[in-house]
């Protein structure tokens, strides 16, 4: 946000706040109602027609397509899994992903486990596996003697030589440099080798048991080494990536891969949108049919709830996943629960002969304990889900928790405020409009 935008926003907030206070103090309830309606309608317009709310929310891989991988480090005779090793591996993976130019990659350690999770949007499984291949890189002599391993290689990079030939530049650690220069010198000095392409004049590069390349030693590699002879830069790039893979300081195994194609992701977003709209419409229709004017207030609160919910999601930078969307729709149904509880209370109070105003106030007070206890239990379940869940399940737990909290705020504070305004503006009278008249003829008035 630029400074100007910030100032504009701040000014708007101050003006609106001032207006709100003015309206409140002068008790022009009708105006206040109109004002609230306008703000909500404006927000809804802004986030649906003018901009998509999705612009502000990070989507999970299952909604935008991409690959998620879980890697686990294992001890090998050569390397034991250590904290440093894992940190280094994380760094190597990050660097490679950056080089690939993936937008918003998500790469993190799993606490208390030798495990790394890599989430890359718009990347196929094949590409992702290339990045974090579990390979064991070895440079070997013709007779099988190992010259250097992935640990000795600091970096491999594709480049164009001065003669404009594609090549791979190898940068070794000091020890790797010494070993590699020794070996290449020895190979170069083997009788008959300079200029020959015989097997003994080559250095074989193995990734696990696969031969990647076997370049001929054309000169001893005293400083950094380079491999030439590629058809094009892409090929050099591919080899460089593979060599870098070998530099992973730990033996890691892929335990889980999930590749969601972009098409499937888009389809899920489209379907989710339909499900949310229909779910919302169905709930609103039911509330209107059953509670009439109160239902209208509840529906209005539901819209505010949705705005609050999505704003919170964007604010905490949460990732919205497919189960998360299911959580949102589910929460729509459950969000009206608090209002249902309160409305039923109000109806009961009206039946005892109270005025609407008195019934409303005591309805809110008496309904509160039930709402609180019910929601705390749901929050307990959500907290447990968050603790034990991974990936999308965590997303579900987060959306569920936000939903419960946001629904309590809107159902208790917002609905109550709106109802009070309605009463003070003398817009409500017990009767059919509240869905309270039919069953209690003549008793609701006092």
């Amino acid at each position: 946000m630029t400074e100007r935008e910030f100032l504009q926003l701040a000014l708007t907030v101050v003006l609106l706040g001032g207006l709100a206070i003015f309206l409140h103090v002068t008790r022009r309830h009708v105006l206040m109602l109109v004002f609230i309606l306008a703000v909500v309608a404006g927000s809804v317009y802004y986030f649906t027609v003018a901009h998509s709310v999705l612009e502000y929310i990070r989507l999970g891989l299952d909604l935008r397509g991409g690959t998620r991988m879980v890697l686990q480090a294992y001890d090998t005779p050569e390397v034991a899994v250590t904290e440093e090793g894992l940190r280094a591996a994380l760094g190597v993976i990050r660097e490679r992903v950056d080089r690939l130019g993936v937008s918003e990659p998500n790469i993190y350690r799993v606490t208390d486990q030798p495990r790394i999770v890599v989430e890359l949007a718009g990347v196929t499984e094949r590409e992702a596996l290339d990045i974090v291949s579990i390979a064991n890189l070895e440079f070997r002599r013709h007779d099988g003697r190992v010259v250097v391993t992935g640990k000795d290689l600091r970096n491999a990079q594709a480049a164009l030589s001065q003669a404009n030939e594609p090549m791979v530049l190898l940068e070794f650690t000091p020890e790797g440099k010494r070993k590699f220069s020794e070996a290449t010198t020895e190979v170069f000095n083997t009788p008959g080798c300079p200029g020959s392409a015989a097997p003994e004049c080559r250095i074989d590069i193995y990734l696990d048991q696969d031969l990647v390349q076997s370049p001929v030693v054309q000169s001893p590699a005293i400083e950094d080494a380079q491999i030439t002879g590629y058809a094009n830069l892409q090929e050099a790039q591919r080899v460089a990536t593979i060599l870098n893979i070998g530099a992973l300081p730990l033996h890691m195994q892929v335990e889980e891969v999930r590749e969601i194609s972009a098409t499937l992701g888009q389809e899920s977003v489209a379907r989710s949108r339909v499900a949310v709209i229909i779910g919302l419409t169905a709930v609103v229709a039911y509330m209107l049919a059953y509670y009439r004017l109160l239902g209208l207030v509840a529906s209005f609160a539901l819209v505010v709830y949705m705005l609050l919910f999505l704003a919170t999601l964007a604010g905490i930078n949460a990732v919205l996943t497919l189960p998360g969307v299911a959580g949102i729709v589910l929460s729509l149904g459950m969000a009206v629960d608090a209002n249902v509880i309160i409305f039923e209370r109000i109806r009961e109070e009206l039946r005892t002969g109270k005025t609407f105003r008195a019934a409303m106030e005591s309805g809110f007070i008496r309904g509160f304990t039930a709402i609180l206890d019910g929601n705390v239990t749901t929050l307990i379940a959500a907290a447990v889900l968050f603790k034990f869940g991974t990936g999308p399940i965590r997303g579900f737990a987060v959306t569920l928790s936000i939903g419960v909290l946001a629904s309590m705020v809107t159902a208790i504070l917002f609905t109550r405020y709106l109802l009070r305004l309605l009463v003070r503006a003398r817009l409500v009278r017990p009767g059919p409009l509240l869905g309270t008249g039919a069953a209690v003829p003549g008793r609701a008035r006092s």
Partner: protein
């Protein structure tokens, strides 16, 4: 007052509890049999394995795909063609190494038809076992947390009755999922925990009313207070169940295949949650309180019921 309300106020949920207990016992029995016999149709999230969703550039048959898989000794894999769009094929098989997976895909492209869109999931047995353990822990921990909270806010008997209703809902939901044969994947854990949350929430609303009515109506028996409370909260129980089912129904009908199973599990569970609050949790609490009351009055007083 006449009309529907007086009909509702004459309903007796508590007095008829034996029938509801019997119904629930039958449901639990069937569920245990189903879970013990058929078990759950566990997806690769739990068992480990590979699942592909391939879209070919033309409609294909399971036979074509299976023929290729047989070449890789994967003849026993599950192969399913989408009836709505026969270009789309779902394959479920064992955990494949990256090389194997590539080879299978290439062979399919060569011998069947080019693949235009692919989604793959591979999960090792290690991750699967972890998920099972985590799921069990999660359900156990959530239950303990809920009982603790309810014991603190209400009393221990309410807590236990709510938990029995909760276990009833979770168990019967899983039993029905097993009977229907829904494939169980990671979000299933979330679905079960949501059901647990809903079930307890629903029960709490009724218990809250019992707690309140116990204060105001000291002359009524436990059964009368509980029945009154259930009836008073009935409109709320029904309305919330309806709105929630409407919302979940929307996911089921329009959310696409990935969330369909999840939504179906929720539909089952939420219906059960609404049922159990009225017919299991409340009556159970009454049965327990009455038994305790009889025990307190001592053995000289013959049990009236």
């Amino acid at each position: 007052m006449t009309g529907p309300r007086s009909f509702v106020s004459r309903l007796d949920f508590i007095g008829t509890r034996r029938y509801w207990f019997l119904l629930s016992a039958i449901l639990v029995g069937i569920s245990l049999l189903a879970l013990g016999g058929r078990g759950l149709n566990l997806g690769i999230d739990f068992t480990g394995g590979t699942s592909f969703a391939f879209t070919f550039d033309r409609p294909v048959t399971t036979g074509e795909v299976r023929a290729v898989l047989e070449g890789f000794d994967l003849g026993t894999s599950s192969v399913r063609v989408n009836l709505g769009d026969p270009r789309e094929v779902f394959v479920k098989t064992r955990f494949l190494a990256p090389g194997e997976e590539d080879a299978v895909r290439r062979a399919l492209e060569e011998r069947v038809s080019p693949i235009t869109d692919a989604s793959t999931e591979r999960v090792s047995a290690l991750i699967g076992r972890e998920l099972v353990l985590n799921a069990l822990w999660a359900v156990a921990l959530a239950s303990v947390g809920i009982v603790a909270y309810l014991s603190y806010r209400f009393d221990f008997r309410f807590g236990v009755a709510a938990i029995v209703a909760l276990i009833h809902d979770a168990l019967v939901s899983m039993g029905l999922v097993s009977l229907i044969g829904i494939e169980v994947s990671a979000p299933f854990v979330a679905a079960i925990l949501t059901i647990i949350g809903y079930s307890v929430n629903d029960t709490v609303i009724i218990f809250d009313r019992i707690r309140e009515n116990l204060k105001h109506r000291r002359k009524e028996s436990f059964a009368e207070v509980a029945n009154r409370s259930v009836i008073e909260t009935l409109p709320r129980s029904i309305n919330t169940a309806v709105t929630t089912l409407l919302a979940v129904g929307a996911i089921y009908a329009f959310g696409g295949r990935t969330t369909q199973d999840f939504a179906l599990t929720l539909l089952i569970g939420i219906t059960l949650g609404a049922y159990s609050s009225i017919f299991v949790a409340g009556p159970l609490w009454v049965a327990w309180r009455e038994r305790a009351e009889r025990a307190r009055r001592g053995p000289l007083q013959p049990a009236a019921r």
